[in-house]
């Protein structure tokens, strides 16, 4: 499996996705589309207060309502130790997860679950919620991240003492942790600079905005065996989280993944599933729970808003001498926002020998932040890439030239310590510079912005199984929900290795009982890590096919080579050794030892880092402050595009989410700490008429860590757009826009103030 051009039959083509017909005809079953006979409906009572002590919950009237079958509150869930658990996946504090899915002593944000009921109909369940009497003691609340970090702010958790500071604080605060990393000596670096830029930046909390609300059905038998059908980014994640939150064995919970209607990181945790299992256990009935959009906004996601300061220093020729950033990231009501990831990624595109990044993870009375596509990176990149643009203006340099002058290459040490392996950042800059977009003329009130971005991409544990069917077709089973066409990629890689047609391979996303453990769909890992597992499983299958041919030919396996989907005798055909196709070997499998399969479980290292550069043209209306995106180009190193159309789709979709983040999306709170825009009407995601076509340029610098050179592609594209848009607007407005979103009132005010 080398990497020369045109040597592949399937990789790099654009076949129709296997699940496509179901999705264009309405047959595909998403989270809310599943029901079992006798299913009852679960609904959640949510706190109307941003911060309140729960003094008592009286459910007598609710439970007396005909049709109500069960109710749960925090008292129904075991208390877990307050600790970060290192598992085979990202570190998680399961006590916090448990307290987030169901409040205990305090409600920490408006929308925090306080109780849940199950009833025979949704209407009865709603009525029951209204009958639950919760006595609250309303506490002072805090929403803004800087306010929350300040002395005297209302403290959410009496047990929170800032980690990462010496000596350890004696007073609890909302600052969960401080993190610092660096290279060289920043003070010396700035002393050596001819030019510096320094500025504060803010971004607002934004939601992942998947169109499918969270949904699940849970059924529990009298012997305690649970089955959960749910929409998530990982059936094994749901199983692990429910197992820990409810004190059940993994083997007692089977999780069946539905089709997933978008996640973007927001479905990497649980909200409803533990409640549904608990209600199903109590009621003896299957329980279905589906969130409303309002609940999705108030109680799930979003990603952190940020308050940041960045300083850059450079020589007259543009060589960066130092970079310094301080990030305050909203964690929501529980610790664990992505400030650390912001620190790691912000400066990553540049070869900086003197750099420092300090991050603060700050809790406030907002829903607990969840992962969102390259979590933590877009905000830091907004600040750094804006500073780079300002620096380019100050130096009178082209912004791409400035980036080229300082671009990270193979061997450059990133602030988090690692030297980059083979990466394609310079290639993205060169391609952007050469692109006709970059030299296209601009009209009045129009300007062009450029920004770059970095995301690590991850590997991790994946399982895959390939089964050869009796007729020579093949099954590929993996354990990762297909969030954007990955089944096509899995089938393509298997077909390539097996040497059979794509149409002969049927990919399936297995439930937790059908395939081995697989870390969730996230971190841009599936085509890389699960794809690697599929390649290895297919290769194991090929080896077994060769062994079967060797049996038939009565020769050592070394005398059998596999090409074009068939066993060939090394040294050519003879009377007894004629080429045996996969179909022929499949047909004779019973005679040669039984069914032919290959199954692997791997922990994939070697995820290639992702870099991208984006170009944005805008026009501003100086009288109203409205911004129109006129033209947009995404350039990214994608390693190897298995299915190029779906790779383009990732680049386009990520960029547009970033455009929304830059221009209009934000969580708006009222004075009582209640979310004021919990719907698509006023949480303004981009609509079709807001956008131009999104041009893409895929650079292929193969990742040596994957058999076909795959790099993750899903997250990098959301990193540059915040600054690409802001830089374009800042140039058009001739004033630096350092606060997102650049909504019309904000731009108009900036134009007035310049």
């Amino acid at each position: 499996m080398g990497n020369e051009e045109n040597q592949y039959k399937v990789i790099g083509t654009r076949p129709i996705r296997p699940d496509g017909v179901d999705k264009v005809t309405g047959r595909a079953a998403f989270g809310a589309d599943f029901s079992l006979p006798g299913t009852i409906v679960g609904r959640v009572l949510r706190s109307p207060h941003a911060h309140a002590r729960i003094k008592s919950i009286d459910a007598k009237l609710a439970l007396a309502l005909p049709g109500v079958r069960a109710m749960v509150t925090g008292a129904d869930f075991p208390e877990l130790p307050d600790e970060i658990t290192a598992g085979g996946e990202a570190p998680v504090n399961f006590r916090d997860v448990s307290h987030n899915v169901m409040a205990r002593a305090k409600a920490l944000y408006e929308g925090h679950a306080v109780a849940a009921v199950a009833a025979t109909t949704a209407a009865i369940a709603e009525q029951a919620l209204a009958l639950i009497k919760v006595e609250y003691e309303v506490l002072p609340h805090v929403i803004d991240v800087r306010d929350a970090a300040a002395d005297g702010a209302p403290v959410l958790h009496e047990t929170m003492f800032t980690s990462g500071v010496e000596p350890a604080p004696k007073k609890p605060s909302n600052v969960a942790g401080r993190t610092e990393m660096g290279l060289g000596n920043v003070e010396e670096g700035f002393a050596a600079a001819d030019v510096t830029v320094e500025r504060e930046y803010t971004t607002q909390a934004v939601h992942q905005g998947y169109i499918e609300p969270h949904a699940c059905v849970a059924s529990v038998t009298t012997d305690g065996q649970a089955t959960v059908w749910s929409t998530s980014q990982g059936q094994f994640m749901v199983r692990e989280f429910c197992s820990r939150l409810l004190g059940m064995d993994r083997a007692a919970i089977r999780v069946v993944p539905s089709e997933i209607g978008g996640g973007f990181g927001g479905k990497t945790t649980v909200y409803l599933e533990p409640l549904a299992i608990a209600l199903a256990k109590k009621s003896g009935k299957p329980v279905k729970m589906v969130m409303t959009r309002d609940e999705v906004f108030r109680a799930t996601g979003p990603t952190s808003g940020a308050s940041m300061k960045v300083k850059l220093g450079a020589k007259r020729d543009g060589t960066l001498t130092a970079g310094d950033m301080t990030l305050y990231y909203q964690a929501g009501a529980f610790a664990g926002g992505p400030a650390m990831l912001g620190c790691m990624t912000g400066f990553a595109p540049y070869a900086l020998t003197n750099a420092r990044a300090v991050g603060y993870d700050v809790v406030s009375n907002r829903p607990k932040a969840a992962a969102y596509r390259a979590p933590g990176a877009p905000m830091a990149a907004f600040a750094v890439e804006s500073a780079m643009d300002e620096l380019a203006q100050k130096l009178g340099m082209d912004p791409i030239e400035l980036r080229l002058k300082n671009a990270a290459k193979k061997g450059t040490r990133a602030i988090y310590g690692v030297k980059f392996p083979e990466i394609g950042f310079v290639e993205t800059l060169e391609a952007a510079k050469k692109h006709p977009h970059y030299s296209a003329p601009l009209g009045p009130n129009q300007a062009r912005g450029v920004a770059s971005g970095f995301w690590f991409n991850i590997g991790g544990q994946s399982s895959a199984a390939v089964h050869v069917n009796e007729d020579g077709t093949a099954e590929v089973v993996t354990g990762n929900p297909d969030i954007g066409g990955s089944r096509a990629s899995m089938a393509m890689m298997a077909a390539e290795v097996l040497g059979i047609e794509y149409s002969k391979v049927k990919p399936t996303v297995g439930d937790t009982g059908q395939i081995g453990y697989s870390f969730l769909t996230g971190g841009s890992r599936v085509t890389f890590a699960t794809g690697k597992a599929v390649c290895e499983a297919a290769q194991a299958t090929v080896n077994e096919l060769r062994a079967r041919a060797a049996k038939l030919w009565e020769c050592p396996i070394e005398d059998v080579e596999w090409k074009d989907g068939a066993a060939h005798p090394v040294g050519g055909q003879t009377d007894t050794r004629t080429v045996l196709s996969l179909a022929e070997l499949a047909e004779s499998a019973a005679k040669t030892g039984g069914p032919i399969s290959g199954a692997v479980g791997i922990n994939a290292a070697g995820a290639g880092a992702g870099f991208g550069t984006q170009i944005c043209d805008v026009e501003i209306d100086p009288e109203t402050g409205k911004v129109t995106v006129l033209r947009y180009t995404v350039v990214q190193d994608v390693g190897r595009a298995i299915h190029p159309a779906y790779v383009e789709g990732q680049l386009q979709g990520g960029a547009v989410q970033g455009i929304g983040w830059a221009l209009n999306e934000e969580y708006v709170y009222d004075g009582n700490g209640r979310l004021d825009n919990p719907g698509f009407l006023d949480y303004r995601m981009p609509v079709a008429s807001d956008l131009p076509m999104i041009d893409t340029v895929m650079i292929e610098v193969p990742n040596p860590g994957h058999p076909f050179g795959v790099r993750g592609v899903g997250e990098t594209p959301i990193v540059p757009p915040l600054a690409a848009v802001a830089n374009a607007v800042s140039r058009a407005a001739k004033v630096r826009l350092a606060d997102l979103p650049i909504s019309p009132p904000r731009l108009l005010a900036a134009l007035d103030g310049k």
Binding site: E623, T624, G625, K626, L663, N664, V668, D676, N677, F680, L681, D682, R684, P686, V687, S689, D690, S743, P744, P745, L748, A749
Partner: protein, 288 residues
Amino acid sequence: MINFAIPTSVDEAVGLLARANGSGRVLAGGTDLLVQLRAGRVSPGIIVDIKRIPDLKAVRHEAGGLRVGAAVSGAELAEHAEVQKHWPGVLEAARLIGSTQVQGRASLGGNLCNASPAADSVPALIAAGVTCTIAGPDGRREVAVEDVVTGPGKTSLAAGEFVVDFLLPARGARTSDAYQRFIPRTEMDIAVVGAAVCLALDANGTVSAARVALGAVAPTVRLVPAAGAALVGTKLEDAALARLAAAASAACDPINDKRGTIEFRTRVAGVLARRVAVLAYDRARSKA
């Protein structure tokens, strides 16, 4: 338990609403009512679907103008060529209510009676001098559109009354109108500011009459006589437009909310009034 009725005549609807003692809600396109029902903001005793009353869905000529049923949807209104020709501002305002899907349902009557200060069609109807027929237990009355809404969510309709239709008055030569709104996106938003202008020109192209109405800048849509007066006797010279913008801004009494600030709304009201006046003027001039 909510009752539901589908009357087939205005009298039947009036009877149903009268018997509901104020707990009846009229259902036309439902694009506001269903959202309010779901959110628990309304809990009517009966919902009266008026879409099967023939007059409520009719568009017919009357006295040189056009009588438009209150339940006619934006998409249906657009299918009448004379609306586009003579009342382009009314049509473009009606067509801005919601998405294509909402256009298939949302009606002028609903947009008015929902009594939102940001309703798109209302400034255009007011600028165009449109009146509406209100039916109720005491018979029918004809009311200027600007007299219907009294505050956010509040109308002058008595219990049991509902809007039956609108009369788009006859349009003389060299008369036309326009409506624009400001929203952060290009679609799917509620107006942050809306401005409608209706102009009549004399043979020389001088404005002989002007009505300017603004949405989303006060508790109700505002007819701004001073803004209209700024244009009368002018050919929309820069000074006249500046006076118009100033008058429009001066008439604003907006709030700060998630959709816009007081300062922004006040300022953009002037900008939009100016732009819309120019558009209406060009239309009127080309309509000899």
